[in-house]
Structures are given as C-alpha cells and as structure tokens.
C-alpha cells in the first residue's frame, strides 16, 4: 500500500463504518416490521411528504401556493426527535461517504491539535446544510403531490424532474465544484470559520448534485428503502466520475461499472502481462 493510500484509508475506514451502522439502523427495523421511528428515516421522510401532500390536497391549512408546511400535520406522524434522529441516520447512510475528501482535506491541512475539531466542524456544517436542504426537499415533495393527485403521477413527475436535472449543465457544475478543496486558515477563529465553510459549501454542492435524485424516493408510495439504496449507489458512483465541462447531456456514472469490470478481469487474469514495444 502506498503512503497516500494509507492516509486515505485512515479517514475512509471510520466514515464507512459509520455508514454501515447507519444502513443497518435503517434496514433492520424495516425488515423486522418495527415502527418507522428514527431509524427508518427514509420511510419516515417519504411519509412526511405523503402526509403533508395529502393534507394539502385536502386543503387542510395550506396556502394557495402549497408551499407552507402546516406544523400540526407535519409532526403528527413522527415526533420531532424522531424526525431529527431519522434524518441524521439517513444522512449518514447516504451522504457520509461523499464527505470523505473534504474530511481528509480538513484533517491533513489542520494543525495536529486541531484536527478533531476541524473534522467535527466540517461534519456539523455538512449535516446542518443538508438538513436545511432536506426540509426543502420534503416541502417540494409535498408540493408535487398536492396538485397531481394519484401517487404514481407524482412519482412520474419526480422522475421527470430528476432526469431533467441529471442532463443540465448545472448538475455538472455542482459535481465539479464538489471536488474543490479551498485553502484553510490554520489558527484561531478563522480556522473554525473555514472548517464550517468547507463543510457547508461541500454540502451545498452535494445537495445541488443529488437533490433531484433524492426527491424520487420521497414520492414513491412503496419501496422507499429499496429506491433509496438505488439512489445511494448512483450518487456514490457519481463521486468516481471525472469533472467535465458543463453542458446538456445524459449523464450516467458508468465509471463504477468500468472499475468493476477491470477488477473482475484482473482477477481472472494471472501472471505479468507481456510487453509490446512499439520500436
């Protein structure tokens, strides 16, 4: 293992461990048929959107724009602590691996005595920004449900939005900017502010990349978790893609497939490859 790979692993391992635990926390209760409190966050969120959407459809306290979320209806299904815990678990499961490059940047470019603090601040800013985005997503899901009526119509609308966003130059811009690692102050309050800024901006570009895909599981009437798994694998695969010039095009993260194919071929073939000199 190269020294660089060793350093990458130092950050990657604990993050992936958290991710695995989070997925277990979501999947196990679902499989056991436990109530969707806290751990079953994906289902919880989808139901939040559903409940808000149905309430709106019935005109229960929503404004004509459908953008106002009635507190009573929204929290009637899950208590606030359950929502927060559930959201945290889902965020860890889906988005923690996308934070690894930013965490490594903060860790390696901070003073040894401040590394833990920098990593914590990046994580907090990332989670808070994503949470704000999550509220927006749930609201948007409810808006889509409201006027469209039948749930599969809402789902079709969500898929259309996701496909459209997937093809836009803006999506590529978000993917590109997510890979950027700005300089960080080393000392004092400036270092804390820069760590927060790094986590927040990273989450912002992540949200810009993923929001439309994440909207889809919020609109399905069933199989929320299954769809979340698919979306998660998709956004993780997008992390492997190289930055590209923004433009309108169909964008699929095929590099992950190429990696898998190359690894499989490598396993099949044994022995050193021959040299074909062009001289």
């Amino acid at each position: 293992m190269t020294p660089e790979a060793h350093q990458r692993r130092r950050i990657r391992r604990p993050v992936l461990a958290v991710t695995v635990v989070a997925w277990a926390a979501m999947l196990v209760p679902e499989l056991l048929g436990s109530p969707p409190v806290g751990a079953s966050a994906g289902t919880t969120l989808a139901r939040e959107a559903e409940s808000v959407g149905h309430a709106g459809h019935g005109g229960a306290g929503l404004s004509s724009t459908g953008l106002d979320v009635p507190e009573a209806v929204h929290w009637s299904y899950t208590p606030p602590w359950g929502y927060v815990a559930g959201w945290g678990v889902m965020l860890a499961a889906m988005m923690a691996p996308l934070l690894i490059p930013a965490l490594r940047h903060a860790y390696t470019r901070s003073l040894a005595g401040r590394r833990g603090r920098a990593v914590a601040l990046v994580t907090v800013a990332y989670a808070v920004t994503w949470t704000a985005g999550g509220v927006g997503l749930v609201t948007l899901a409810s808006v889509i449900r409201t006027p469209t009526g039948p749930p599969y119509t809402a789902l079709a609308a969500g898929i259309a939005v996701a496909l459209m966003w997937q093809a836009t130059p803006s999506k590529q811009r978000c993917l590109n900017r997510r890979a950027r690692h700005p300089p960080l102050a080393a000392f004092g309050r400036a270092a804390d502010v820069d760590a927060l800024r790094l986590g927040g901006s990273h989450a912002l570009w992540c949200f810009g990349s993923c929001w439309a895909l994440m909207l889809v599981p919020l609109l399905v009437p069933a199989w929320h978790l299954g769809l979340m798994v698919v979306v998660t694998l998709w956004v993780w695969s997008e992390q492997l893609e190289r930055p590209a010039v923004p433009g309108w095009r169909l964008r699929a993260p095929v590099r992950a497939l190429r990696v898998a194919r190359a690894r499989a071929r490598s396993l099949r073939e044994s022995g050193p490859s021959s040299v074909a000199a062009p001289v």
């Binding site: 020294p3 660089e4 690692h181 074909a276």
Partner: protein, 511 residues
C-alpha cells in the same frame, strides 16, 4: 531493434545527422493534416488541447478538418500530471512519437537506427537551446526550419532561450521513494498515488523540478505586447514545440538514472502497474505509423532496454545532494548517517504553521509570514537538534517542507522564486542559501478553471526546506513565532496573470 538516445549537444555538429533527420521527420509529420493520427498536431493534441490557444499560436485554422470523435476520445488530452503516472505515461508517449519520426525518417531514406536525442541542460555549456532549434533556417540557409518555433520566448521573454542552471536542480534524484503523499510531505520522486482522482494538485519531485521549470522558462512569455505565452509553457500547447520531445527524453533519462540506484524502486502496486485502466479510466494509447495502436501500462514501461532503447549516459551531470548533506557541507559539519544503517519509516506528516491569507503574486516581489505553532515547531527543533552522528537517530530527524497551496492564475509562464528566512531589510538575491526553490506553475491556468479536472482549486507545490530550517535553527532563527517567506518573480508579473497562492504552509515529516 535496439537504439541509443544521445545528448543533442554531443552529436558532433549543430546540424549533425541525427538532428537533420529529426527535422526532416518533424517536417513530414507537420505536413500531414490534423485529422491524421500520425500528424504533428494530432500528437500534440494527445498531450493537451485548447482551441483558443492553438488559434492564438497559429496551429488551428477554420479550414482544418478535426479528427473523428472516436479518435479524439481515444487519444487526445491524455497527459498525466500531478500523478504517479506522470513518468510512465510520458515514456510511452515519447516512445510512440519516436517510432513515428523514425518511420518518417526511413521513408525519406534515413537510418533505421535513428533515435530521439535528449537535451541535458544541466551539463556545463549545454543549458542554451540547441542551435538547430533556434534558427528559422535549414543549414543551407533556406527558411522554414520545422524545428523553429516563433513562440519560444525564454526566461526573460526576449527570445533568448536557455535554462538558468543556477535555479534548476536535480534534488529529486535524492528522493528515496518513487511515490509520496499529497498531505504536505514529500510527494516522492515520481508523484502521488492519486487513486480514483485524476491529475492531482500536487506535482511529484521530478515533475516540479526540473520538468515544470524547463517548460515554463523555455516557453516563457513575450515581454512586449501582446505578451503571448510560449507554446512550451502551457500543457495544452507544449507538444507543438519540437524541443518538447528532447526535454521529455531527458526527463525519461532522469527516471532511468534514478532507477540505476538499486535502492530506488518503481511502485509494485497493481493500480500503478496496470495504470488508470484498472481504475475505470482510458488505457494509455498512441497511434503508430503502421496504423496500429500502441496500448501500454506503467508496468510495461519500467525497463527501457526491454522497450528497445537506452541512453548513452545516465550520469545526472549535477550530483543530487540530499538536503541534510547540503546544509552540513555548508556548515563544515560531518553529520551524515552511517552507511548501511536502517532508515526508519518517516511517514507522519503534520502542519507546523501557515500564513493567514492568500498571497497575490505580482510586480517584483510579494512577502508574507508563516505563523508557526509553538508545540509542533518545538518538535522540529528537537528533532533537528538530535545528535546526527548516531545513524539511527539521524534517520529519525524530521524533513521539513514548504507548501504553496492552491496556486491559481492565468499565466503558466509566471515563474517565481521562493525564499524562506530572509528578513525584511535584506535583499533576497544576496541570500541564495535561503532559496527554497523555483516554481514554474505548468498547467496553472487549466487548474484554475472551475470546470476543469482540478475544479478550480489550482496547483500545490511542495519544496523541501530542511536545510534552510536547519541553518535557521543553528542561528536560532527557527525558534520564532513566524517565518518570513518572500516570492520573487523571475520577471515582473502583471495583474493580467491573476497569480495568487491560497496558503503558504510548513509541514514536518518524521516519526
């Protein structure tokens, strides 16, 4: 077939046969249309391409038929920089280019044993551009010498092209390991394992110096209006200049020279041996004169003899001196480690300090101060104060690196020197022992583009300053709260270059 690559300055004549045939071969490739995969411009596009820059330099006109999209996606913009693939990719690229020139040479009745010469600018009296490249005429006085490039401006932008030997060094050859880290310590001789990323921000030791420096100063930037940036200075145009290939033959020779030390080993990790194709990227490939494709991996590029060539001389010309020996010699001390003593693995990299804000690099000089963290600085001081005559302890001494992080700008030719520990009232040019290194930010404009592979974060350069810190420590100059750093451009840098350094930091690498 086995060929020998020879020193361009030692072929016997300014227009020795090997140079003359190179010129004829270049002429033949230049005569082919852009869409031909064996044409001059197609090969340059394999390294990099920018429609605007090519048009600016007169290498692309509206009537040009572009290569097919299949050819473009297979071959163009392959160059590997800021990566541990830098050396093997360029070795295969130069090898395939040499085959194409040789085919053109033999078609014209030249020798089948023709080999690409190299330019060893380190050797005494050989730092100037070889004369055949500097003249617009053939040896018989007729014009249109294909080795001549108008947009080659040299270090001072006046067309006098040479490599300032006082500022190039071969210290990279003293790097013990091929690959290093991107976290502030040594990036290694050949560059950092970039994993799934491509074109990392940190250049390896031999890539930074002499590779980048020679690119930046040979190409240069025109001193007068319109201040055109030379072809060699920019990765997107560098392959258009015939001297590019002799420069890269020399870089390739330095890799072979580094490998001639039995302690110096190439990576053995599968991801290096099998190349980016093992990570879902394009395989390295180059079009050959017989219309076949040469597809290669780094693992196949490790042995020049197996590839059918060798160099007439692997002596680096200027002996690389490990940093500790440099300072000890300067101070008249004998602090070298005992021969054969086991060296500990020094892979712990820690930030020692950093400056507070971005440094704009413009005009004739920029200054900043790197604030040092007291406990970490103390560790460095303690480490360097260890009794180095004890071999085991000597191996445990820290190495110290200055990092120029997030270097961004619009001019790849904006070269500058970096001094450490020169006080405010001193003239930096009178303190050459405080020169941490010279930087030519090859590729910086591309790396500053938000939609490029670097996502606009720019490049990061790592300069070893162990010797300077050791001197400062002996003069009690490192045990301070901050360290002065001075940036001195080779030529005054204008606002248009928009050159800036995001952060300047100091890292220790040790136990």
């Amino acid at each position: 077939m086995h060929v020998v690559r020879r020193n361009v300055w030692e072929l016997g004549d300014d227009w020795a046969d090997d140079i003359l045939w190179y010129a004829r071969g270049v002429g033949a490739m230049k005569g082919r249309p852009l869409a031909d995969p064996t044409s001059w411009r197609f090969y340059a596009g394999m390294h990099g391409f920018s429609s605007a820059r090519w048009q600016e330099l007169g290498y692309l006109v509206p009537t040009d038929q572009p290569p097919t999209s299949a050819l473009l996606s297979q071959f163009w913009r392959q160059c590997q920089h800021g990566s541990w693939y830098f050396l093997p990719w360029h070795r295969g690229y130069v090898l395939a280019f040499e085959s194409n020139i040789r085919a053109a040479v033999t078609d014209l009745g030249g020798p089948e044993s023709w080999a690409l010469p190299y330019w060893n600018y380190f050797k005494a009296g050989q730092s100037a551009l070889p004369p055949a490249f500097a003249s617009s005429d053939w040896p018989d006085g007729s014009g249109d010498n294909p080795l001549f490039v108008e947009q080659r401006y040299g270090p001072f932008g006046d067309g006098n092209v040479f490599v300032p030997t006082s500022e190039v060094n071969l210290n990279a050859l003293a790097e013990p390991d091929f690959t290093g880290v991107s976290s502030g310590g040594s990036p290694g001789f050949g560059g950092v394992d970039t994993g799934f990323a491509h074109n990392g921000p940190v250049h390896g030791a031999v890539e930074t110096q002499p590779h980048d420096w020679v690119h930046g100063l040979v190409g240069g930037q025109q001193a007068q209006f319109p201040e055109t940036i030379g072809a060699m200075s920019d990765p997107r145009t560098a392959g258009l200049d015939p001297i590019f290939w002799l420069h890269h033959a020399n870089i390739d020779r330095l890799w072979a020279s580094w490998r001639s030390d039995p302690a110096h080993l190439d990576p053995t990790q599968p991801t290096w041996l099998q190349g980016p194709a093992s990570l879902g990227e394009r395989a390295f490939s180059a079009p050959m004169p017989d219309a076949t494709t040469f597809t290669y991996t780094p693992g196949e590029m490790t042995d020049p003899a197996a590839l059918g060539y060798e160099y007439d001389d692997l002596t680096p010309a200027a002996a690389p001196v490990p940093p500790q020996e440099r300072v000890d010699e300067g101070l008249g001390l004998d602090l070298t480690a005992e021969e054969g003593a086991p060296m500990p693995e020094n892979t712990n990299v820690e930030l020692v300090g950093a400056n507070d804000e971005a440094v704009p690099v413009r005009g004739t000089e920029s200054r900043t101060r790197v604030r040092l963290d007291a406990p970490t600085r103390r560790r460095v001081v303690d480490s360097l104060a260890l009794g180095a005559d004890d071999a085991e302890v000597a191996g445990a001494r820290d190495r110290v690196f200055l990092n120029l992080e997030n270097v961004r700008g619009q001019s790849d030719a904006a070269a500058f020197r970096v001094y450490v520990g020169v006080s405010d009232d001193e003239d930096a040019s009178e303190r050459p022992e405080r020169l941490a290194g010279s930087i030519a930010p090859f590729g910086v404009s591309q790396a500053s583009d938000f939609d490029d592979e670097h996502a606009g974060q720019g490049l990061t350069f790592v300069l070893e300053i162990t010797d300077i810190v050791d001197q400062l420590q002996l003069e009690s100059g490192f045990d301070v709260d901050d360290l002065p750093v001075r940036i001195v451009p080779v030529r005054p840098i204008g606002e248009k270059a928009e050159l800036s350094i995001g952060r300047i930091s100091v890292f220790r690498q040790g136990r």
